[in-house]
C-alpha cells in the first residue's frame, strides 16, 4: 500500500461545453474553453512549477513561478491565470523561464527557515518540492537581511499550528477560507514585506471566527499551517479512502496512516458529496476511537446495582442468548426486540434487523431515525413514492432560490453548508424559515432575502400559507401539475389552501410572522427560477412533523420544482447512516426497501432466503417499546450503537422503561448512559476498524474501509452474527460484501449494488438496478416513483404542548458545529475546546424579567422534569423562546422534553416544550441522583487474582 496521491491541476475545471485545442511543449491537447494553460498542461501530465495555485481555488497569480511563453505573444504570462486559446503554441520550459523561476525561488528561500530536515512537513512541502523542481542549488542573498524567520507560533487551535516564520504569503489559506469554507476568518494584514496571514483581528485561531474546518491547512503549501499530528507522529506512508462517520453529508476522506496509527484525515477531492472539503468533526475529531474510556472487553452482570464483570465473548454471548430465550419462553415471542444504529454500517443494520425478524421471530426493530427523520420517510413516500430526498448535493450549484426550513446547515451539515454558501455568493436567493436567526441568515457576503422567524410548532401553518399565496396569486405551474400529479387531488388541495383561513394574514396569530414577508417569500420561491427546499429536524421533530413534510412536498409540486437539477425536496439527515438504516429495514412495519411486513409476496422472498417464517404483524416503535416495558409486556432489548437514554425525550419515562427490562444488551464504544441500565455490554468497533457502507442524505452508498484491526477484537456485524448463531439462527458471513450481496438480492432498489461496483465508481446513489446501473442522482425525472404525485391536505393542528402561566416560554433544541448529537464521540476529543457545556440561550427581555444575568446558572422546568445549566443572553432567539443543545449528559436536556410526538410516526416533539426558567444555584435533585446512579452503575469489578 502507498499514499493515494491526487493530481493537483492547479486551477478548477471549466464547466464549458465548447472545446479548444492548443499545443503545449509540442504536444496537442483539447480542453474546455476557460481552462487555464496550467491545467491544460497538467492534463498532458506536464506539471508547471507553481506555489500560489491549487485546483480547489480560483487562480490568483501572485507567486510568478508558473510563467510560460506563448509563441507570437510578448512577455511571460502566468499559466494559472491565462486561459487557453485556439491554436496557441505554449512553451513551459525555456532558458529564460528557468532563470526567472530560479530567481523567484531564491527570494522565497532566502526568507524561509532552512530547517527542512526537522520540519513537520518534510517530504510534504510544495516549497521544498519547487526548490528541487526549478533546480535551486544555492541562495545568493544570505540571511543577514531583514526576514521573518524568527516569528512565533500560534498553537491555540487544538488540531493545527500556525508557524508564521514559514509563511510565503501565497494567500491560499485566505482564499480557501473564503471560497471553499465561506467563513472569511483570515486576512492578510500589513503591506509589502510586513504582510502576514492573520485570523480575525490579529487574534489567536481558537478565539477567532475560524471554525477549524481545515481547508486552509489543506491549501497551505508549506508547514505554516500544519496538523499537530504531523509533529507528533511524522508524515504518513500509506492511505486508504473511506467515509466520515459523523453526519449525513458523508464526506470522503483519505485516512493517512503510519503503520496502524492514523496520522490525519484528508478530505478527498473525488468525494462526490464533499468535493475535497471537510468540517472540524470529520477532519480532526477522530481521537475518540483511541480514547481511554473505550471498553474493549465484553462485560455482564445480573443486576444493574452490581458492578460489571469482564468476561470472554463466548460467555457474554451465551448469557445473552440464554436470557433472551428465557424471556421469550416466559413472556412470549414478542417480549423482546432490538434497536439498530444510524451510526453503524448498512450491513450491520441489516444484520440486526435480520436477527430480530428471523432470530427473535418478531418485528420489534426500530432505529434512532425514529427520533429524527421518520416523518421524512412517511411524508415523502405518501406524496412522491420514495422515502428519501430527491437530489444530489451537486444540484445546489444549479439552484436559484433556496428555501431552508428548520435546518441549520452551517452547524449541522457544515460541508453542505459551505457548498450552499458558495452558491449564495454567486447570486442565488435565500429564504429561511426558522425561529432562530441562524448563521446562514446573515453571514459574510450572505444575506437572506427573507427570514420568517416563526413561533416553534407552527411550520404547517406557515408552509400552507406559502401554498395559499402560490395558489391564490396564480403562481401554480399548471403544466407540471397536469402532467405529473393527480389533477383531482390537486384541485381539492388548491381549494383547501386557497381558503382564507390559510392566508398569511389569518395565520399570523399562530406564527407571529409578518404576512408581507410570507407573501414575498412565496413569490420569490415560485417565480425566482429553480427553487429548492432543504429542511432538517426543525421540520420533523414536531407533533405535525409528517404533515409539514407533506406540505413541503405539495409546495414543490405546485411550483413544478421537482424532477430536475437545481430544485427538489432535500431532507438534511442527521447521522451518517440515517438514510441507510431506514433503507435496510430498521422500521418495525417495513422490510428492507420499505415494504410492509404484511405483504405476503415480499415476506416470502425473505423467508425463502433466510429459511424461517416471518411475523406479518408490525412491531413496536421505540416509544411504544418503553410504554410496553413499563406495562410489563416487553422485557428484553438489544441496542446497537445508540444511546436512547440520552437521546430520547422524557428521560424519566425512558429510564422507567429501561429499568423494567430483565435483559438489556448494549453494544457500544463506551459505557454510554443507556448502559447504566444494561446487563450485558458488548464492545463496539469504530468506523476505522471495519469494512462496510454508509448511505448519506443524497441516497449515496459509500464504502468505509478498515484501516486498523478492531481494538475490541470484532467488527460490530461479527458480534451480531455470534449472537444470532447462539440463538440458533445461523449466520456464516465472512465479509460484509456478502451481506451487501444478500441485500441486493432481496431489495429491488439495490439490485445493482456490490462492492466491486462501489470500488470502481467510488459511490452510487440508489435506486441502482437494471434500469439505472450507475445509480440515480436525481429522482422523479419525467414522473413520480408512485405514478402521479399526490397532493395531501395539511390542516394546521396546534401542538398540545402549550405555554401558560406556569410554563410561559417555549424551549427549542438544536446542535452546534463542533459537537455531534449526544456527544459520546466529540466530547472525547479536543472539540470540547469550542463547546465545553450546553447552555441556554435566552432573550435579554426574558432574562431581565427573571433577574438572570449572562453566565448565571438557571433552572429549566417543564411538565416532564427539570434540569439546570448556564444561561447565555442572546438576540438570536425571539422573546418568549429559549434554546439549548443536548450534547452533554450532565445537562440532560431531555429530562425536560415531553413525550408528545408526531401523529404518524411517533417522532418526538423535541422542538417545542413549554418551560419556565428561574435563577438557580446548582444542579437539580434529578441531576444529582442521576450522577450517583451513573457512578455506581459504571463500576467494573477488579479482575480476580490469577
Amino acid at each position: 500500500m502507498s499514499l493515494v496521491h491526487e493530481i493537483d491541476y492547479g486551477t478548477p475545471a471549466s464547466k464549458s461545453e465548447k472545446l479548444v485545442s492548443l499545443t503545449i511543449d509540442g504536444m496537442s491537447v483539447t480542453v474546455p474553453e476557460g481552462t487555464s494553460i496550467m491545467r491544460a498542461a497538467m492534463e498532458l501530465g506536464n506539471q508547471i512549477p507553481k506555489l500560489c495555485a491549487t485546483d480547489m481555488l480560483e487562480s490568483f497569480g501572485s507567486c510568478r513561478l508558473c510563467l510560460i511563453e506563448i509563441e507570437g505573444r510578448n512577455g511571460t504570462p502566468a499559466s494559472c491565470t491565462t486561459p487557453v486559446a485556439e491554436g496557441i503554441v505554449v512553451k513551459t520550459q525555456t532558458e529564460r523561464l528557468k532563470q526567472i523561476r530560479k530567481g523567484v525561488m531564491e527570494l522565497y528561500i532566502s526568507d524561509h527557515p532552512l530547517d527542512c530536515l526537522t520540519c513537520s512537513a518534510n517530504g510534504d512541502c510544495e516549497l521544498q518540492d519547487m526548490a528541487g523542481v526549478v533546480g535551486l542549488r544555492d541562495v545568493r542573498y544570505g540571511y543577514e537581511g531583514e526576514n521573518h524567520t524568527k516569528l512565533g507560533k500560534d498553537e491555540s487551535n487544538p488540531y493545527f499550528t500556525y508557524e508564521q516564520s514559514k509563511c510565503i504569503v501565497c494567500n491560499r489559506c485566505v482564499r480557501a477560507c473564503e471560497e471553499v469554507q465561506g467563513t472569511f476568518a483570515l486576512t492578510i494584514s500589513g503591506r509589502g514585506f510586513g504582510s502576514r496571514v492573520s485570523p480575525g483581528m490579529d487574534e489567536p485561531f481558537l478565539t477567532s471566527e475560524c471554525v477549524s474546518c481545515g481547508a486552509c491547512v489543506q491549501a497551505c503549501p508549506t508547514a505554516t499551517l500544519n496538523e499537530k499530528a504531523m509533529y507528533d507522529i511524522g508524515t504518513p506512508e500509506h492511505s486508504v479512502v473511506t467515509t466520515c462517520a459523523y453526519c449525513g453529508v458523508g464526506c470522503t476522506f483519505k485516512a493517512e496512516m503510519r503503520g496502524d496509527e492514523l496520522v490525519r484525515m484528508v478530505p478527498y477531492k473525488d468525494g462526490k458529496a464533499n468535493r475535497g472539503h471537510s468540517c472540524v468533526k470529520g477532519r480532526f475529531a477522530y481521537g475518540y476511537a483511541a480514547h481511554q474510556d473505550r471498553i474493549l472487553k465484553p462485560m455482564i452482570r445480573s443486576s444493574i446495582h452490581e458492578p460489571w464483570k469482564e468476561v470472554t465473548y463466548e460467555e457474554a454471548i451465551a448469557y445473552a442468548a440464554s436470557e433472551f430465550k428465557r424471556i421469550q419462553e416466559k413472556y412470549g415471542k414478542r417480549a423482546v426486540g432490538g434497536i439498530t444504529s444510524s451510526r453503524c454500517t448498512n450491513e450491520e443494520t441489516y444484520l440486526v434487523q435480520k436477527l430480530i425478524r428471523g432470530g427473535f421471530g418478531n418485528n420489534n426493530v426500530d432505529t434512532c431515525a425514529r427520533v429524527c427523520h421518520s416523518p421524512t420517510g412517511y411524508g415523502l413516500s405518501q406524496t412522491y413514492g420514495t422515502s428519501a430526498g430527491t437530489q444530489d448535493f451537486d444540484s445546489v450549484e444549479e439552484t436559484d432560490v433556496v428555501l431552508i426550513i428548520g435546518a441549520n446547515p452551517t452547524d449541522g451539515h457544515p460541508v453542505f453548508g459551505s457548498r450552499l454558501k458558495k452558491r449564495l455568493r454567486e447570486g442565488a436567493k435565500l429564504i429561511v424559515v426558522d425561529p432562530r436567526r441562524t448563521d446562514i441568515v446573515r453571514s459574510p457576503h450572505i444575506e437572506a432575502s427573507y427570514h420568517l422567524p416563526l413561533k416553534p410548532g407552527t411550520n404547517v401553518a406557515i408552509v400552507t400559507a406559502l401554498a395559499h399565496v402560490v395558489v391564490t396569486e396564480g403562481l401554480v405551474n399548471e403544466q407540471f401539475v397536469r402532467e405529473r400529479c393527480d389533477w383531482d387531488e390537486f384541485q381539492d388541495w388548491a381549494a383547501f389552501v386557497a381558503d382564507e383561513r390559510h392566508s398569511p394574514e389569518a395565520v399570523e396569530k399562530y406564527t407571529g410572522v409578518d404576512p408581507a414577508l410570507v407573501r414575498g417569500a412565496a413569490r420569490l420561491y415560485a417565480t425566482g427560477g429553480n427553487g429548492s427546499i432543504y429542511y432538517g429536524l426543525g421540520v420533523t421533530e414536531h407533533s405535525q412533523g409528517s404533515t409539514t413534510v407533506m406540505a413541503i412536498a405539495n409546495l414543490a409540486m405546485a411550483t413544478g420544482n421537482v424532477g430536475r437539477n437545481g430544485v427538489g425536496v432535500n431532507p438534511l439527515r442527521g447521522q451518517n447512516n440515517v438514510q441507510g438504516s431506514c433503507d435496510m429495514g430498521s422500521f418495525p412495519h417495513e422490510l428492507p426497501g420499505y415494504r410492509h411486513v404484511s405483504d405476503d409476496a415480499t415476506r416470502s422472498t425473505f423467508e425463502a432466503l433466510w429459511g424461517v417464517p416471518l411475523d406479518d404483524e408490525p412491531g413496536l416503535r421505540i416509544p411504544n417499546m418503553f410504554d410496553a416495558a413499563v406495562d410489563g409486556t416487553f422485557k428484553g432489548l438489544y441496542v446497537q450503537g445508540e444511546d436512547i437514554l440520552q437521546s430520547d425525550p422524557d428521560t424519566k419515562h425512558v429510564s422507567a422503561g429501561l429499568a423494567g427490562l430483565e435483559c438489556l444488551i448494549v453494544q457500544d464504544l463506551f459505557l454510554n448512559e443507556t448502559a447504566n441500565y444494561a446487563h450485558i455490554f458488548l464492545p463496539g468497533c469504530s468506523f476505522l476498524e471495519k469494512d462496510g457502507t454508509f448511505t448519506n442524505a443524497e441516497r449515496r452508498i459509500q464504502r468505509i474501509r478498515k484501516v486498523m484491526a478492531p481494538k475490541n477484537g470484532y467488527a460490530d456485524w461479527e458480534v451480531t452474527q455470534l449472537l444470532a448463531n447462539a440463538l440458533g439462527f445461523p449466520m456464516t458471513y465472512t465479509h460484509p460484501s456478502q451481506i451487501m450481496d444478500e441485500i441486493a438480492a432481496l431489495t429491488p432498489t439495490f439490485t445493482g449494488v456490490n462492492y466491486a461496483k462501489l470500488d470502481e465508481l467510488g459511490s452510487v446513489q440508489w435506486p441502482c438496478n437494471d434500469e439505472a446501473p450507475e445509480g440515480t442522482p436525481i429522482m422523479h425525472i419525467g414522473g413520480f416513483v408512485r405514478g402521479k404525485g399526490k397532493f395531501v391536505l395539511t390542516e394546521y393542528v396546534p401542538t398540545d404542548e402549550k405555554t401558560g402561566p406556569r410554563f410561559p416560554l417555549l424551549l427549542t433544541t438544536g446542535r452546534i458545529l463542533s459537537q455531534y448529537n449526544v456527544g459520546a464521540q466529540t466530547r472525547r476529543t479536543a472539540n470540547v475546546a469550542w463547546h465545553p457545556e450546553d447552555v441556554l440561550e435566552i432573550h435579554a427581555h426574558d432574562a431581565e424579567n427573571r433577574g438572570i444575568r449572562d453566565g448565571d446558572f438557571v433552572k429549566l422546568d417543564s411538565r416532564a422534569g427539570s434540569t439546570s445549566l448556564k444561561a447565555v443572553i442572546s438576540d438570536r432567539v425571539a422573546p418568549g423562546v429559549v434554546y439549548t443543545t443536548f450534547h452533554h449528559p450532565v445537562t440532560q436536556a431531555n429530562v425536560v422534553t415531553t413525550d408528545y410526538s408526531d401523529w404518524a410516526t411517533n417522532c418526538p416533539e423535541y422542538k417545542v416544550t413549554a418551560v419556565q426558567v428561574s435563577p438557580s444555584n446548582g444542579p437539580t435533585q434529578w441531576q444529582e441522583d442521576y450522577e450517583n446512579l451513573s457512578r455506581t452503575s459504571r463500576r467494573i469489578a477488579a479482575e480476580a487474582a490469577e
Binding site: 407533533s543 404483524e617 408490525p618 413496536l620 416503535r621 410496553a628 391536505l793 393542528v797 415531553t898 410516526t905
Partner: protein, 76 residues
Amino acid sequence: MSHSTAEKLVYMANQIATAFSAQKHAEAVEATRIHIQKFWDPRMRSKIAEHIAHGGEGLSPIAKEALEGLQAAKAA
C-alpha cells in the same frame, strides 16, 4: 399527557384522526383505520380494542369509527 397506556393510545388515535380530518368523513375514517392497522403492534391494537369494548371513552368520532373497523391482531 397521561402515562397510562390506554389513555396514551386514545391520545394517539385521536391525533391520527385529527390529521386526516380535513378529508371527507368516510375517507378520514378509512385513512385512520389503515394507518393504525399498518403501524400499531398487536398488543397496542388489542388494548385499544378492549377500550372500545368498554365504550371507547375519550375517542373522537373519526377515531372511534375507524377503530371499530380494525382487524383483530394475530397471535405471535
